[in-house]
Symmetry: D2
């Protein structure tokens, strides 16, 4: 849905940290999202691989978008877990997240993060987490 993608991109553009990392929304629809981060020298760790923090950022943000696609714009990541399966080196990473189960106030989502190098993709991390709707008292966001 073009409108949804437009809205998602506006939200991303309003997150200074996402702008700092150069994140882009490739697709965004009910229940799924693709978020891309172009790799640059300053997103790496000391061995030339992309820093784990960039991968977990992409996973976390993609999980939040997936949850937000079904819960509405006012959501936060309550928690997530990530397994790094391979050191990532390449041109960009793409985090693909989808909703596994959605309730009224929470959604459980999953995300695979791929690194693209010379046109071929490899899985570099996989994540799973809970997205919670806000609008409840802030102390319930735990």
């Amino acid at each position: 849905m073009e409108d949804m993608l437009t809205w998602g991109r506006q939200v991303l553009a309003s997150q200074p940290f996402s702008v700092l990392l150069g994140a882009e929304l490739l697709t965004f629809s009910m229940g799924s999202v693709e978020l891309k981060v172009q790799l640059r020298a300053d997103l790496k760790q000391q061995h030339g691989f992309v820093h784990g923090g960039v991968i977990s950022y992409a996973a976390d943000n993609a999980l939040t978008y997936a949850g937000g696609s079904v819960l509405g714009p006012s959501v936060v990541t309550s928690e997530f877990k990530i397994n790094y399966v391979r050191p990532a080196m390449g041109e960009f990473i793409v985090a693909r997240a989808a909703v596994i189960h959605a309730g009224k106030n929470q959604a459980v989502c999953r995300c695979d993060v791929y690194v693209s190098s010379s046109g071929s993709e490899s899985l570099c991390a996989t994540a799973q987490g809970t997205i919670a709707r806000l609008g409840q008292p802030p102390e319930s966001r735990a």
Copy 2:
């Protein structure tokens, strides 16, 4: 141990992503570490809170340092899990990680992330993960 802190700071300075985020090592000793990130406008999300990706970066990196303090310099985070317990706003965050159990090739570590605002600290996230020693064939890093 001063030498350990000096070594840890050199490693941090060699991680371009840690430099981008302005991370600092406050303390570093066998089994524990404190990593600080000064909050800036470009580390925030759209509501003015520090972006979850910054908090998970700090947790992930502190977990790796804690593991590295007992496993040696060549380590990676295999996996971790984080619960965000409160939106963070303030001057800086501090991630405090410690080793819970160390084997020969892996360590299970824990990390609490606090936000400091006007001199008072609040817990904003808590994490747990596995740090693995490299030097084994790369395909075993999963």
Copy 3:
């Protein structure tokens, strides 16, 4: 608090699965709990160690009790993560859980599981999870 322990033991006695596993509540107070499982032949896996499922049961149930101590009796475990750090063999295991952060509707809790063998205790697993209060629409329990 004696009354709290009595109440906790009644709840445990009303869980057929906890009765099947022979779980006992050693202590139960605001924010913390100790749950013990006496080891028997039928709680083991094929190599004579206690089955991981018994350890994760103990961690999960202790996390729920810890959360319930601050949120009230009507709670469920939303999610948890467990790291097994050592194969467990001995006379009994004890899961010690505590609340890390409590909001109005959720609590983030942590649990260490120890195995006791010949009077000495070793850590065999560590867990972290979210306990949610019910009384909200069931579909929000995700």
Copy 4:
């Protein structure tokens, strides 16, 4: 592969705890497995739903089988994370696990647990974890 299923069933029959819970292996092949637990009164909690410990047992064991299908028979679950998405009531649960990424010594696996009630299945939990090969020094199993 019939031989693989036969072997898997023998392993399950040698786990006293799996026998206690009445677990059955429905399918078992390279990279995937289905493990079923018939629901009985003594596998429930106090509200009549299947106890979370039974669901996490099924997820944990299915993850281990999935990992073992690619790493060999001598494996343990290093860690896993589970999200419960719905209280489970019905005739049986089925845990379906698959390998997401396998290295030489570890595999990252995923598992969905469904409850079957009157012939229709619902997702009740989803899990993700790391399976490690043994044969390395025991202290590296962390």
